[in-house]
């Protein structure tokens, strides 16, 4: 098994096919979308492939160390930030193909007009622990 991160972006991914902001959908379309996401996670729990899923608030703060005895320096949020993560799902699957297949299904979540959003999701393999036997 190998773990993959499915990343959803507020900004930074190529434009989706059905790219209508959610507040422009009908309330029923929002409900159906939310249900699809919930069902997707439930199904992966059922197949033993779900690890974690989280959503992130759009606004964050950049922080860095600013020297001995000084409070950390903060900055942002930056309106010009190109890449903004919206949330993720971590899955544990047999193959890379399976990870792509599941990301494809997640991207088919219904949006405006009840049609799939065709949203671009980013699939990133986790770096694993080193194997015991290497030769």
């Amino acid at each position: 098994m190998a773990k993959y991160l499915l990343l959803k972006h507020y900004r930074g991914a190529p434009e989706a096919v059905n790219d209508v902001p959610m507040d422009q959908w009908t309330p029923e379309e929002v409900t159906v979308h939310v249900q699809y996401m919930r069902d997707f996670a439930d199904r992966l729990e059922g197949t033993g492939e779900f690890v974690d899923g989280q959503a992130l608030a759009p606004e964050g703060t950049f922080v860095r160390y600013d020297g001995e005895g000084r409070p950390p320096m903060t900055d942002g949020p930056f309106a010009e930030t190109k890449d903004l993560i919206a949330g993720w799902m971590v899955i544990d699957v047999e193959t890379h193909e399976r990870a792509l297949e599941l990301a494809g299904e997640l991207s088919a979540a219904p949006g405006a007009g009840g049609k799939p959003i065709h949203e671009w999701l980013e699939v990133r393999p986790f770096l694993a622990a080193p194997p015991t036997i290497t030769e």
Partner: protein
């Protein structure tokens, strides 16, 4: 064996060990071990005297741990020389345990974890699952908390307000897992109310009961939030409401108002209304006035603005909102609601979308997005 029943004995058994001379941290560990053994071994044949069994086994485990720890040899001698406990149990030993677990030196998260374990009898694993953190993290949090209170004398007088804050957090911020934290918070508050006549303990118990009564109506079939005005009031638990109102009335009759009683009074007025439009908003505004006076809390001020909007019209609600800090969580959602009531769906839709972006939970975000969508989807004209 009923595990919940078993857990109710936890604070009593810890107290017995402490009175025999065990320190709190070791006593707490020993009782947890005894509980685990009881859950494992009692299924077919529970002992007649559950408490006596737990005391015996926990004490043995405590002595084992003391013996195993050679650096504590001197304490072993003291403990083994301790006279056997006298008959009966001091009534408020359990109360002292509440105080210790909510000691002001603890952070809220630590106090919550320690209370759930030492007073509630939950295992570290159950608490970790409930708060969605790894078990090792929760184990560290609990053992650090025990170290923090290790210097506190068990019989030191405690602060009821701190205990109430902890119980409120358990009720309000529980997540998931196999333990119903809201029900657990009610159980612990009920147990506390039986041991102290403090009117704010009764106020908090009433507040919890009245909110718990609405739980079946609070989420829709797909897990979405159902706002108070749209809830199916037939789903409200009338038994819990009746109990909450009784507890509240007895507390209010003593004429020492506090914030939990005032919040419970608002909840009771909602519970009284058979339909949303029958809500006595004028009285609710008065209770929020009391709450603002008692606490100065901006959140109370924000909720007051909603109530004013219902009692005196949306324009008055917006005027009440003008004095509130716009950075407050839910401020934008309240503003959206009042603007819609004021006949300005365009502003309301924009504000609902803004509120969705700053929502602190997914169900709230979905709900606010749906509100924006509803207004944006209305026929233009």
């Amino acid at each position: 064996m009923d595990e919940a029943l078993l857990r109710t004995l936890t604070p009593t058994v810890i107290s017995v060990l402490v009175r025999r001379g065990a320190d709190f941290a070791a006593a707490e560990d020993a009782v947890q071990d005894a509980l685990v053994e009881a859950v494992r071994g009692w299924s077919d044949d529970p002992p007649r005297d559950a408490k006596g069994w737990l005391v015996t086994v926990a004490w043995r485990k405590f002595l084992d741990s003391v013996r195993a720890d050679t650096s504590r040899r001197h304490r072993e001698e003291r403990v083994e020389g301790e006279p056997p406990p006298g008959p009966g149990e001091a009534v408020d030993d359990t109360l002292r345990l509440y105080f210790l677990c909510a000691h002001p030196s603890l952070t809220p998260a630590s106090a919550v974890a320690l209370t759930l374990r030492a007073v509630g009898g939950l295992t570290t694993r159950q608490i970790a699952r409930a708060y969605l953190v790894p078990e090792a993290t929760m184990a560290q949090r609990i053992s650090r908390a025990k170290r923090t209170v290790s210097g506190v004398r068990f019989h030191e007088p405690g602060d009821v307000a701190m205990v109430l804050r902890v119980l409120y957090l358990v009720f309000n911020e529980g997540y998931s897992g196999d333990v119903d934290l809201a029900a657990e918070a009610i159980r612990l508050t009920r147990q506390l109310a039986a041991r102290t006549s403090h009117e704010e303990v009764a106020g908090l118990l009433a507040l919890m009961l009245l909110h718990h009564a609405r739980r079946p109506a609070r989420t829709g079939p797909n897990g979405g939030l159902v706002p108070l005005a749209e809830q199916d009031r037939g789903l409200w638990d009338t038994r819990l409401i009746a109990e909450g109102v009784d507890v509240l009335q007895a507390a209010l009759a003593r004429d020492r108002l506090g914030e939990f009683q005032a919040q419970a009074a608002v909840a009771a007025l909602h519970a009284d209304a058979q339909a949303a439009e029958e809500t006595d908003w004028v009285q609710i505004v008065e209770w929020y006035d009391e709450l603002v006076r008692l606490t100065g809390s901006p959140v109370a001020g924000l909720n007051r603005a909603v109530a004013v909007g219902e009692a005196d019209g949306a324009r008055a609600g917006l005027a009440a909102l003008a004095g509130i800090d716009p950075d407050l969580p839910r401020y934008t959602a309240v503003a959206a609601y009042l603007h819609e009531r004021d006949g300005d769906p365009v502003t309301a839709a924009r504000l609902y979308a803004d509120a969705a972006r700053s929502a602190a939970s997914l169900p709230e975000r979905d709900h606010l997005t749906r509100q924006a969508a509803r207004l944006n989807a209305r026929p233009r004209g």
